[in-house]
């Protein structure tokens, strides 16, 4: 079975152990080996890209270069890391000048970026290398009849020529659990995470619009594939009561949590207690 | 002096010898149909003579592949076609003054201007031009291949030329004449006229020397022109560093012409690109309401943006001529909601393309449908835009503003209609 370099980034391990653990549990089910990468740190986020393009290129090229040593593709559970790695990979493989410049810096740290392995989101690897049929065989607790709204996240979807992500992957991974994908008008829209440090009010408003759109379309709960999006959609719901006087009570689960539950994992195994908005409706469904 | 010609089989009368009329005439002639081709000017070619490079190929679109290598527009193959084609009776300096009769058997009265120069004799030696400014050679490839004479500029030198012309081609005493011919079909190919926007006072045309129209700009850019193609100011011949163009001058304006002149956006950008890419360091700004580079011509717009042509959506708010010959211009940029101030050497107006003088009379005399002053189709619901009436056809810019390829296509459609009717 396939092996990957696992690039965690900084947010998942610090804020979402439930995501991290379900990542391993799901991988385990399919015999996927996830190898924590040695000697790496944060991707810097779009904020680093904004203030220091070259620095952002170097740190992410370094991550890619480290993975090249054992030749396995990188998988990451974070859209932000995915966006950074994909963009740097795309940029450096299309710009020889910058590649040279970055490699001159990387030389000091003893690695070289060649572009021989690809960065991927964990769900892409799951979908493409394990396959929907294989996953289907493992669904023991189907989520039949549950309507789930997917928040794909900006940096997974766009820019499409860079991320090369096909949103149907996400849809299929939800549908294979028996759940239905709830279409909602604002499905493309940003959750507001990036603007949080600069304008909190605006960030909250964006999260609220998103949740409203999902809820109005009839979603029983929402799913994400990124810690920053989870932060915005799950955690911010508490803030919304305060600022907008609105209560959405829309549980937000990581895609691996959903897959885990559908494959028969217990709620504590998937760390449901750590989700801010109680995920009771799902548990009721599963037990009922 | 009226001379009625009786013919075995009646020829076709083509009015206007621009690209449309030339195409129709030469093709009809090639099919063995006799054609009388008249134009009020002394040489053929119409407006296309003054265009320098033409879209869509940046060359003359009706030239053969092989001749595309040379710059400029005037190496026209119609020259040889006209010379070698016995079926064409070319009458320059000629206008149609009256049309009577019935479809298939029209009588057309022609007023033929004085034939000062016998083009069959003239060998273009240039002697007369040395003697007097009244003679000139419009272009080395002009057709007919002869000099032209302007009686308004007549002087002593002209008389000397008349005497000394080696082929005795000059007749200063030539008189106008009239003749009536019988024709089966009439092809209207009278083209367009670029409006002289003197009455639009906010642009200062006709008052400020460095305000010109696009057609005038084309002549400045022409390598065969006075400045040898250098972009210079009409006021003092100084080099132009900054140009501003304004679109929709007199077009899409209920006070002048309500229609869109259709091709001015394309040729404005053609000129903007030539200036930006071939006249070093000249900055062009285009002030527009909409850019309408229809179908394949979108390319010109894209190239222009890439080349660094500036586009300002909005209108000119104020224009002031400065003592040094430049113009101070304030334009309102509706996209930014800001006023921008420019200083330019040359201000170019994309002026409306209007029906040429005499169109109304022609339409009236044949009871045709006018379309904003141009010649409309006989049947608005039919697909035959080139059929103006029974045995009357129209092609090229006589139908309304049109580009060369379109004019040529329409002329060919006319030819095929006439051939069909004679089958």
């Amino acid at each position: 079975m396939p092996s990957y370099n696992l690039y965690m980034g900084c947010s998942v391990p610090a804020n979402y152990p439930n995501y991290e653990t379900t990542l391993f549990r799901v991988a385990d089910k399919f015999g996927i080996e996830l190898i924590y990468m040695e000697g790496v740190s944060c991707c810097g986020s779009p904020n680093l890209r904004a203030m220091d393009y070259l620095g952002w290129l170097i740190v992410n090229a370094r991550t890619l270069a480290i993975a090249e040593k054992n030749g396995h593709d990188i998988v990451t559970p974070c859209n932000g890391c995915f966006g950074s790695l994909k963009d740097v990979y795309h940029f450096l493989t299309h710009n020889a000048d910058y590649k040279e410049k970055v490699n001159a810096e990387l030389k000091k740290t003893g690695v070289e970026f060649k572009g021989t392995i690809k960065p991927r989101h964990f769900i892409e690897a799951l979908y493409n290398d394990v396959g929907i049929d294989e996953i289907r065989k493992n669904i023991t607790k189907p989520l039949d009849g549950v309507g789930i709204a997917i928040h794909y996240g900006c940096h997974l979807l766009r820019p499409q020529d860079v991320t090369e992500f096909n949103p149907e992957i996400f849809d299929d991974l939800i549908r294979v659990t028996g759940a239905s994908v709830v279409e909602y008008p604002l499905w493309k829209q940003c959750c507001g995470a990036t603007v949080l440090p600069v304008n909190e009010e605006l960030a909250i408003r964006l999260a609220r619009d998103k949740l409203k759109s999902m809820k109005e379309a009839g979603a029983a709960f929402a799913t994400v594939s990124c810690p920053a999006c989870a932060n915005q959609l799950d955690l911010q719901q508490l803030g919304l009561k305060e600022s907008y006087g609105e209560e959405y009570n829309l549980p937000v689960l990581f895609i691996t949590q959903i897959l885990g539950l559908a494959m028969g994992m217990k709620d504590d195994e998937v760390g449901l207690a750590m989700n801010r908005v109680p995920a009771d409706p799902i548990l009721e469904h599963l037990s009922g | 002096m009226v001379e009625v010609k009786t013919l075995v089989s009646n020829p076709v009368l083509v009015i206007g010898a621009g690209v449309a009329g030339l195409t129709a005439a030469t093709q009809l002639a090639d099919f063995g149909i006799r054609t009388v081709l008249v134009d009020r000017l002394p040489i053929v070619g119409g407006n296309a003579m003054d265009l320098y490079k033409a879209f869509p190929t940046d060359d003359c679109s009706y030239c053969f592949e092989g001749s595309r290598l040379r710059p400029g527009i005037r190496k026209c193959f119609y020259r040889s076609a006209i010379l070698d084609q016995p079926n064409i009776d070319l009458k320059v300096n000629t206008e149609v003054t009256e049309i009577s009769g019935s479809p298939g058997k029209f009588q057309a009265k022609l007023s033929v201007g004085p034939q000062y120069i016998d083009s069959k004799k003239c060998i273009m030696c240039g002697l007369c031009i040395e003697c007097s400014n009244a003679f000139c050679l419009p272009s080395p490839q002009c057709q007919p291949q002869a000099v032209i004479y302007d009686p308004e500029m007549s002087d002593e030198g002209a008389k000397k030329a008349e005497e000394e012309c080696p082929t005795k081609a000059i007749n200063l005493g030539a008189q106008p004449s009239e003749e009536t011919i019988q024709v089966s079909d009439i092809v209207i190919a009278t083209g367009y006229h670029e409006m002289k926007p003197v009455s639009i006072d906010e642009y200062g045309y006709g008052k400020i020397p460095n305000v010109v129209t696009q057609l005038e700009l084309a002549q400045i850019l022409d390598p065969n022109g006075k400045s040898g193609g250098a972009l210079v100011r009409p006021s003092d011949g100084g080099q132009v560093k900054r140009v501003m163009m304004v679109q929709c001058v007199g077009s899409r304006d209920e006070n002048y012409y309500p229609f869109c002149s259709k091709i001015c956006c394309v040729y404005a950008l053609k000129h903007a690109n030539i200036i930006t890419l071939e006249r070093d360091g000249t900055q062009v700004t285009v002030v527009y309401m909409d850019i309408r580079t229809y179908d394949r011509h979108e390319r010109y717009y894209r190239v222009a943006r890439d080349a660094g042509v500036r586009f300002v959506r909005g209108r000119v708010s104020r224009l002031e001529a400065c003592a040094d010959g430049t113009l101070d211009i304030i334009a309102y940029d509706s996209l930014l909601d800001k006023y921008l101030k420019f200083n330019v050497d040359l201000f170019v107006l994309s002026s409306a393309l209007e029906p040429p003088k005499g169109s109304a009379e022609l339409i009236e005399s044949l009871s045709l449908h006018p379309a904003s002053g141009f010649v409309g189709p006989a049947d608005l619901t039919s697909e035959n835009a080139v059929v103006a009436a029974d045995h009357v056809y129209v092609c090229g810019a006589a139908t309304g503003p049109a580009e060369i390829p379109e004019s040529v296509t329409q002329a060919r459609a006319v030819v095929s209609m006439i051939l069909q009717s004679r089958k």
Partner: protein
């Protein structure tokens, strides 16, 4: 009124037009030469980007206007605008641009230029400091939560030293250093 009396400036009722000759003609080419800036010139001001943007309704300068301002050479206004920092980097504008102008990428370029000139919001300087001090944006604090989830308390393989060293040598280091 005497000659010696001081003349007060007349009240400013009219707004002066923007003098094109005073703008920076090199700004356009400068941006075009930056990462993904090349397609900048293809912009034909259709404003699709602005229509696509989820937050531009709150902006003084909308995305299409910022692009126009770059093309015109309004360097100062663009680099000091707060909009470029408010951008969500959601790429909706870029994705929908009919001329393939990489709008979001270009705003990243603008932010880099602004940062180089010290025009950078405090909150972003704060993030720069986090990155150079801690070597990451988020640090594990609740390691018991990780253990509860059967994870190692510390993230395996994590090493922040190289990261910090790299960024101290690039602009991030200057942003942080220059503030001290």
């Amino acid at each position: 009124m005497t000659e010696t009396e001081e003349k007060a400036d007349p009240p400013a009722v009219m707004i002066e037009p923007i003098d094109i000759s005073k703008l920076d003609p090199d700004f356009r080419e400068g941006i075009r030469s930056m990462p993904n800036g090349e397609e900048l010139s293809a912009c034909f001001a259709c404003s699709t980007c602005t229509a696509a943007c989820p937050i531009a309704s709150t902006w003084k300068y909308k995305p299409h206007q910022l692009i126009r301002m770059i093309l015109l050479g309004m360097r100062k206004e663009v680099l000091s605008s707060e909009e470029i920092w408010l951008c969500l980097t959601c790429f909706e504008c870029q994705e929908r641009c009919p001329q393939n102008v990489r709008v979001t990428d270009i705003f990243f370029d603008c932010k880099n230029l602004a940062a180089e000139e010290g025009m950078i919001p405090d909150s972003i300087v704060g993030l720069a400091r986090e990155l150079t001090d801690k070597g990451q944006l988020y640090v594990v604090t609740a390691d018991w939560e990780r253990e509860d989830m059967d994870l190692e308390p510390e993230v395996p393989g994590l090493s922040t030293e190289e990261f910090k060293t790299i960024l101290k040598g690039t602009r991030t280091g200057r942003i942080v250093g220059g503030d001290e």
